[in-house]
């Protein structure tokens, strides 16, 4: 099982600011997913990236997959308090293995 590193571990920002969360691996991802989890709930899938260099957008969220498929980033533009939560990257293969997670807090 490869190790997924996420950074930063914690991010506290003001509403309207931009932010980027990173996910890195020591080896190539088969495919990578980003999840968001709110307190008291299970994680919910945001996106799946499969192809090196792939960029996907989901409203104010932009997901990039590195050309070598060993890293990924999640960029949020003009963050809102509703974006607050735990963001998790995960390698998807025959099972789902999660990174350490990034706690995002957006203050109004």
């Amino acid at each position: 099982t490869q190790l997924l590193e996420q950074s930063p571990q914690f991010l506290s920002i003001q509403e309207g600011e931009n932010l980027t969360v990173y996910c890195n691996s020591s080896s190539v991802f088969s495919s990578l997913q980003w999840y968001r989890q709110e307190p008291g709930e299970g994680p919910v899938l945001l996106v799946t990236v499969v192809t090196g260099g792939e960029v996907k957008k989901l409203k104010r969220l932009t997901f990039q997959f590195g050309d070598a498929r060993k890293d990924s980033s999640l960029h949020i533009t003009a963050a809102q308090p509703g974006d607050t939560g735990l963001y998790l990257c995960a390698e998807y293969g025959n099972k789902l293995v999660f990174g350490a997670g990034t706690i995002l807090r957006v203050k109004s």
Partner: protein, 114 residues
């Protein structure tokens, strides 16, 4: 999509006892998993629940401590045996959707061992 119901949602248990957590999916799924999560931290995979055969455990987790059943394609249970305060955590059930491209999660069971 798949809707997953987990129960109990929370429990406070005495050390040395066992708790069985139930997970019900609203449709047949091929893959089901059990995770453990400390509040504010990531999810750690405990095991893959295999229908009709023994669960596949991850390193650091053993069947005697976390027996798992999967009698059919929509239901699984996880038992936390001989509990100690170190077992206090959130336990989550997960299933892959029918296209096996997305994981769905229950709301979790918050366990406190006193």
């Amino acid at each position: 999509s798949a809707v997953i119901s987990q129960k109990p949602s929370r429990d406070i248990c005495q050390r040395g006892t066992s708790l069985t957590i139930q997970c019900q999916v609203d449709s047949q799924v091929t893959m089901m998993f059990w995770y453990r999560q400390q509040p504010g931290q990531s999810l750690t995979l405990i095991a893959t629940a295999n229908q009709g055969s023994e669960a596949t455990y991850e390193s650091g987790f053993v069947i005697d401590k976390f027996p798992i059943s999967r009698p059919n394609l929509t239901f699984s249970t996880l038992t936390v045996s001989n509990m100690s305060p170190e077992d206090s955590s959130i336990y989550l059930c997960s299933a892959l959707g029918h296209l096996n491209t997305e994981a769905f999660f229950g709301q979790g069971t918050r366990l406190t061992v006193v």
